[in-house]
Amino acid sequence: MATKDTRIELLQGTLDLLVLRTLAVGPAHGHSIAKAIQRGSDDVLQVEQGSLYPALHRLIKRGWIAFEDGTSENNRRAKVYRLTAKGRKQLSIETNRGERLAGAIARLLHPVSQE
C-alpha cells in the first residue's frame, strides 16, 4: 500500500473525470466507484472516499450522470449511478484533454535530451 507521502491530492476536475471513466464501463454503486478508482491507480491515488459524493452530485447536477434507487450487494438501499449520453460525450472530450495534459507534463519532467 502506498504511504501517505506518495498519495497525490487530486483536483476536483480530475476526480470528476475518473468517475466518468469508471462509469463508462457500466453502472455502479458509490462504493464500487471508489474501489475502482483506488484499484485502477494501483493505490497511488488515494481519494478520501467521502469526497466522492460531492463529485457525484456535481456530475448529477451537470447532467453527465444519472441515478436510480437500488439495492447494494449487502442488501442496503443505495443509489446506482450510470453515464448519460451527455456524459459519454464529455468523457471523450476530457479524455483527450487529459491525455494531452499528461503528455505535456511528462515531456516537461523528462525532457528528451536532444541538445
Binding site: A34, P54, H57, N74
Partner: protein, 893 residues
C-alpha cells in the same frame, strides 16, 4: 425545483451503505468487526462535512447560512427573555400603531370598490343634476355606459308593521351592469326598471339586510316590502360585500331612480318629476381618453343647458368658452378616476388620518431608536465573541449579516404582535368615528396592500435599528477585545451615537406631546362652547313631512305642513317627561338656514342669518331673553303681521344702545321687500356655530319666511332621563308622518360628538401616541444610563473610596442625563413650534381657536416630559449612589 430534491433524498442511506460496504470488505479480510468499522469510517472521512458539502451544492449557499443565522438568533433571544420581550413589545406598539392607522386610511381612501374592474370607472363631476345625467346618458360616442346613484333614507314597513328606517340607494337601470355585479338570488335592477317614472315598484336587498332581517330565506324573493306606503317587490339580493359606491355606508335596499317621487315624499314631486343631485359613474369606450371624453361631453351638456334655460340665465357672464360657462354653473363634466368610489367619510377624515400617520411614524422611529440603543449596548458586550470569530476567519460581512438577521427576527416578531394589536385597534377606531351618527361601515380586513405595508414597516425597522449594532459589533478593533478588559476611565465611555439617539428620542417625543396638547386644548375650547346642561337634556330629531322640500310649492302645502307641526307639538307637550318642545330649521350641531339681506331703519343693508323657528324654541334650548317677548301662537296665524326676534349681536351691531324692540326692518325676499317688526332680543346662542364665530341672527316664525325648505328639527327638553322619552317620541313621529323616513333621535350632546369627532380623534389618539412615545423615550433614557452606570462601576467605586459623597455621585449621573434631556427639550420645543406654525394653515380648519404658540400647551408638554425624564434619570443615579466601593473594585468590567 422538485427534481433537485430527489438526488438529496437517501443521501444518508447512500453514505451508510458505502461505509457498511467498506466495513464488510475489511471483515472479509479478517479484521474484527469493530476495528473494521473504525477503519471504514476513517477511510471515508468526515461524514458531516461530506453531507454539508453535498447539501450546499444543491441549495444556494446563503440559504443554508440564513437558516443557521435565524436559528442562532432565536436561540440567543430566548436566553434573554426580558430583553426580548421589552424590545418586541416596543416594536409591536410602533408597528401596530402604524398598521392600524394605515389600515383605516386604506379602507377610507385607498381601497378600490368591490366591483368588476374598478380601474376602468370614471366619475363625472362631484354630483350631477338628474336632468343633466339624462342628457349625458344618451351619448354613445365616447361613453360606454353611464349610471347614476344617490343615497336616501327609506321608510319601511313589512306586513303592516313599521320597520326601523333604513339607508337605501336610488340607482339607474344600468348601475349593476356597469359595476359588473351579479345578484346571488333573483335578478338585479336592469334598464327595464328604468323606463317610466313611478312604474317600477321593485327593490333589491343588500346581502347583509337579507341575512339579518330575513335570515337568508330564499323565499324572500317575491315578497312585498312597503316603502313610504307603497308595496315593492323583492326581485333580488346583491352579493356579499357589495355596498354600492359610497365608501363608509352600507345601504340595505336598492330602488330604481324613477321611483323617487314615491320613496322620497319630502320632495313632494309630482309623479313624473325626478329632481336632485346624483353621483354619476361611467366607463369610456375603448381607445377614448378622459380628456377626449370631457371635451365631447362639454358640448353635449352645454347644448342641453341652453335648451333648458332658453335664454333665461345669462351664461356669458362666466366667460366665452363653453368650459368656463359650464364651470360657472357647476355643470362641467369633469372626469376623474373612480376606482375608490365616493366618500364623505374620506373627505372628512383624510387629513386627520394623515396627521395621525405622521404621528405614528414618529412613534415607530422612537421605538427603533430605543431598540437600536439596546442592541448597541448588547453588541458592545459581544465584541469579544465576534473578535474571536473574526480572528478565526469569519468575514465581517458574514457577522454583520448575522446581527442583521437577529434584528430582522426581532422586527418580525414585533410585526406579528403588532398586526394582532392593529386588528383590535382598527375595529375600535371605526366604532370611535361612528359616534353620534349613522354607524360607519368600513371593510378594514387587511388586504395584500396593507399586509405589504406592515411587512415593509417591519423590514425597514429591522434594518434601521440593526445596522448600527451590526457595524459596532464587528468593528475593527477586534484583537484588543480578546484581552481581559482593564479599567477604563469614565471619559473613555463617550457613547456618542447612543447619546445622539437619546436626544433625538426626547426631541421627537416633545414634538408629539406639543401636537397632542394643542389638539386637546382646541377640543376643550370647542367643547366649552356648547350650552352646558342643556346638551344632555334636549333631544333633537329631524322631521321631513311629505312635500316639505320642494321648489315650486303651492301655499296650501305650507299651511298643511304647519298644521301637522302644530299637532305634533301639541301631542309631544302632553307626553310625560317632556318639559317643553319646539321646532327649528336646524339642530344646534348642524347649523343651517338661509341668509337674507335685511335693511334696518337707519338704511344699513346687511346679510343676516335667518333661521325659522316655532314658539318656545328659546326656552327649550335655555336661551334667555334680554328684552321683549317670544313668538306667540297669534304670530303664527296666516295673516298676522310679520315679526322677528333678533340676537344680541344683531341688536348691538345695528341699534347700539337703543332698544331693538319695536324697530321695523325690511327683509328682502325673492320678489319683494317684506317689512317686519322686532319683538324681542335673545342672548347669542351658544350653539350658533360650534366651530366659528357668532353672527347676527334674525329668527322668524315658520309661516312668515319665504323659503323652499320646510323640513324642521324637533327639539324636546326633558325633565327625566332623555332615553326614557325617546321611544314615545318615535311613536309620535311615526304616527304624525307614517310614510316619511325617521332620522336618528338623540341628545344634542350625542350630535356634537359626531360634529367634533375628528377633533376628538386627534386629541385622543394624539395623547395616547405621544404618551407612548414619551414612555419609550423614558425607557430608552433609563436603559442608556443604567448601562453607563454599570460600565462605570469601578470608577464610581474608586471615587467613593477616595472620599466622594454619595449625593455627589448621584448628582454626577443626573447631571449628565439632564444635559441630554435639556438639549432634547430645546430641540423639541423649537421643532414643535415650527411644525405647528407650518401646519397651522391646514389645522386651522379643524381647530380655529388654537394658536400654534399656545404657551399653556407647550408648558404642559414640557412639564410632562421633564417629569418622565426626571424619573428615568433618577433611577440609575440612585443605583449609582448605592454602589459599594468593595464590590466596585472587584467588578470586572
Amino acid at each position: 425545483m422538485w427534481r433537485r430534491r430527489r438526488p438529496l433524498d437517501g443521501l444518508d442511506d447512500d453514505i451508510e451503505a458505502h461505509i457498511q460496504h467498506e466495513t464488510d470488505d475489511y471483515i472479509s479480510r479478517g479484521v474484527a468487526p469493530e476495528e473494521a468499522h473504525r477503519l471504514a469510517r476513517l477511510a471515508f472521512g468526515n461524514v458531516g462535512i461530506v453531507k454539508e458539502d453535498v447539501r450546499a451544492l444543491w441549495h444556494r449557499a446563503w440559504l443554508g447560512q440564513l437558516r443557521q443565522d435565524v436559528t442562532f438568533g432565536v436561540r440567543l433571544l430566548r436566553r434573554t427573555p426580558l430583553f426580548t420581550c421589552a424590545v418586541v413589545l416596543s416594536l409591536a406598539l410602533g408597528i401596530g400603531a402604524n398598521t392600524a392607522i394605515f389600515s383605516l386610511l386604506h379602507a377610507v381612501a385607498l381601497r378600490p370598490l368591490p366591483v368588476e374592474n374598478p380601474e376602468g370607472l370614471w366619475k363625472v363631476g362631484d354630483r350631477y343634476p338628474y336632468a343633466a345625467f339624462r342628457a349625458l346618458a344618451g351619448d354613445e360616442t365616447v361613453l360606454a355606459s353611464v349610471a347614476a346613484a344617490s343615497g336616501v333614507r327609506l321608510n319601511v314597513s313589512i306586513d303592516g308593521a313599521p320597520e326601523p328606517t333604513v339607508d337605501g340607494q336610488l340607482v339607474s337601470g344600468n348601475f349593476f351592469r356597469l359595476l359588473g355585479i351579479r345578484p346571488v338570488l333573483g335578478r338585479a335592477i336592469s334598464p327595464d326598471d328604468d323606463r317610466t317614472p313611478n312604474a317600477h315598484p321593485v327593490v333589491m336587498l343588500s346581502h347583509e339586510y337579507w341575512a339579518s332581517r330575513f335570515g337568508r330565506e330564499p323565499s324572500t324573493l317575491g315578497r312585498l316590502i312597503t316603502i313610504s306606503g307603497t308595496p315593492f317587490t323583492v326581485i333580488g339580493v346583491a352579493p356579499p360585500g357589495f355596498f354600492g359606491i359610497e365608501v363608509g355606508t352600507a345601504p340595505s335596499l336598492f330602488v330604481p331612480i324613477l321611483m323617487q317621487p314615491t320613496v322620497v315624499p319630502v320632495l313632494g314631486n309630482p309623479p313624473r318629476l325626478i329632481t336632485g343631485q346624483f353621483r354619476v359613474l361611467t366607463r369610456l369606450r375603448p381607445g377614448v381618453t378622459a380628456a377626449q371624453a370631457t371635451a365631447a361631453l362639454e358640448n353635449r351638456v352645454h347644448g342641453w343647458l341652453e335648451r333648458e334655460m332658453s335664454g333665461r340665465a345669462n351664461l356669458s357672464r362666466f366667460g366665452d368658452s363653453v368650459r368656463a360657462q359650464l364651470i360657472g354653473v357647476n355643470l362641467w363634466p369633469e372626469l376623474s378616476p373612480a376606482a375608490t368610489g365616493f366618500s364623505n367619510i374620506r373627505d372628512e377624515f383624510s387629513r386627520p388620518l394623515l396627521i395621525l400617520m405622521a404621528g405614528v411614524g414618529i412613534l415607530l422611529l422612537i421605538a427603533c431608536a430605543n431598540t437600536s440603543n439596546l442592541l448597541l449596548a448588547r453588541a458592545a458586550a459581544r465584541q469579544s465573541e465576534f473578535g474571536t470569530r473574526q480572528a478565526l476567519g469569519a468575514s465581517r460581512w458574514r457577522l454583520t449579516r448575522q446581527v442583521l438577521v437577529e434584528s430582522l427576527v426581532l422586527a418580525g416578531l414585533g410585526g406579528l404582535v403588532g398586526v394582532g394589536l392593529a386588528h383590535w385597534a382598527t375595529r375600535f377606531l371605526v366604532v370611535f368615528i361612528s359616534r353620534g351618527q349613522t354607524p360607519v361601515v368600513l371593510d378594514v380586513a387587511p388586504d395584500a396592500r396593507a399586509l405589504a405595508f406592515t411587512a415593509a414597516c417591519a423590514v425597514i425597522t429591522g434594518v434601521l435599528f440593526g445596522v448600527a449594532p451590526a457595524l459596532r459589533a464587528t468593528g475593527r478593533r477586534m484583537v484588543p477585545k480578546l484581552r481581559v478588559p482593564t479599567s477604563r476611565s469614565g471619559t473613555h465611555l463617550r457613547l456618542v451615537p447612543e447619546r445622539l439617539l437619546a436626544v433625538s428620542q426626547i426631541a421627537l417625543s416633545l414634538v408629539m406631546l406639543i401636537g397632542a396638547a394643542l389638539f386637546v386644548r382646541g377640543l376643550m375650547s370647542l367643547d366649552g362652547r356648547g350650552g352646558g346642561a342643556a346638551q344632555r337634556e334636549v333631544i333633537v330629531a329631524r322631521v321631513e313631512p311629505a312635500g316639505s322640500y320642494s321648489r315650486r310649492r303651492p301655499p296650501e302645502t305650507l299651511v298643511r305642513i304647519d298644521r301637522e307641526y302644530k299637532n305634533l307639538l301639541e301631542r309631544i307637550h302632553a307626553m310625560p317627561g317632556v318639559r317643553s318642545a319646539s321646532l327649528a330649521e336646524y339642530s344646534p350641531a348642524n347649523p343651517g338656514g338661509i341668509y337674507r339681506r335685511v335693511t334696518t331703519p337707519s338704511g344699513t343693508e346687511v346679510q343676516v342669518h335667518q333661521p325659522m323657528v316655532y314658539p318656545r324654541y328659546f326656552s327649550t334650548l335655555g336661551i334667555p331673553f334680554v328684552e321683549g317677548r317670544d313668538f306667540a301662537p297669534r304670530d303664527l296665524e296666516e295673516h298676522s303681521p310679520p315679526v322677528a326676534v333678533v340676537n344680541e349681536t344683531f341688536a348691538r351691531l345695528f341699534f347700539g344702545r337703543t332698544s331693538a324692540v319695536g324697530q321695523p326692518c325690511r327683509v328682502m325676499a325673492t320678489d319683494s321687500a317684506m317689512p317686519c317688526q322686532i319683538i324681542g332680543v335673545v342672548r347669542d346662542s351658544p350653539y350658533a356655530d360650534i366651530t366659528g364665530d357668532v353672527e347676527a341672527t334674525m329668527y322668524q316664525p315658520f309661516l312668515q319666511t319665504d323659503t323652499n325648505r320646510g323640513m324642521m328639527v324637533l327639539h324636546v327638553r326633558t325633565s327625566d332621563d332623555p332615553r326614557s322619552v325617546i321611544p314615545a317620541l318615535r311613536d309620535a313621529l311615526q304616527h304624525a308622518h307614517p310614510t316619511a323616513p325617521q332620522f336618528a333621535i338623540q341628545t344634542i350632546a350625542d350630535e356634537l360628538d359626531a360634529v367634533l369627532v375628528r377633533q376628538r380623534l386627534l386629541a385622543t389618539l394624539g395623547t395616547v401616541f405621544s404618551l407612548l412615545a414619551l414612555l419609550l423615550a423614558g425607557v430608552g433614557l433609563y436603559g442608556l444610563f443604567a448601562f453607563i452606570v454599570v460600565r462605570r462601576t469601578r470608577e464610581i467605586g474608586l471615587r467613593l473610596a477616595l472620599g466622594a459623597g454619595r449625593p455627589d455621585i448621584a448628582r454626577m449621573v443626573i447631571g449628565e442625563a439632564l444635559t441630554l434631556v435639556l438639549v432634547g427639550v430645546v430641540l423639541g420645543s423649537a421643532g414643535g413650534v415650527v411644525l405647528a406654525r407650518l401646519a397651522t394653515l391646514r389645522v386651522a380648519l379643524l381647530l380655529p381657536t388654537v394658536d400654534a404658540r399656545d404657551p399653556l400647551a407647550i408648558a404642559a408638554a414640557v412639564v410632562t416630559l421633564l417629569t418622565v425624564a426626571g424619573i428615568a434619570a433618577y433611577l440609575p443615579a440612585r443605583r449609582a449612589a448605592r454602589i459599594q466601593p468593595m464590590d466596585a473594585v472587584r467588578a470586572n468590567c
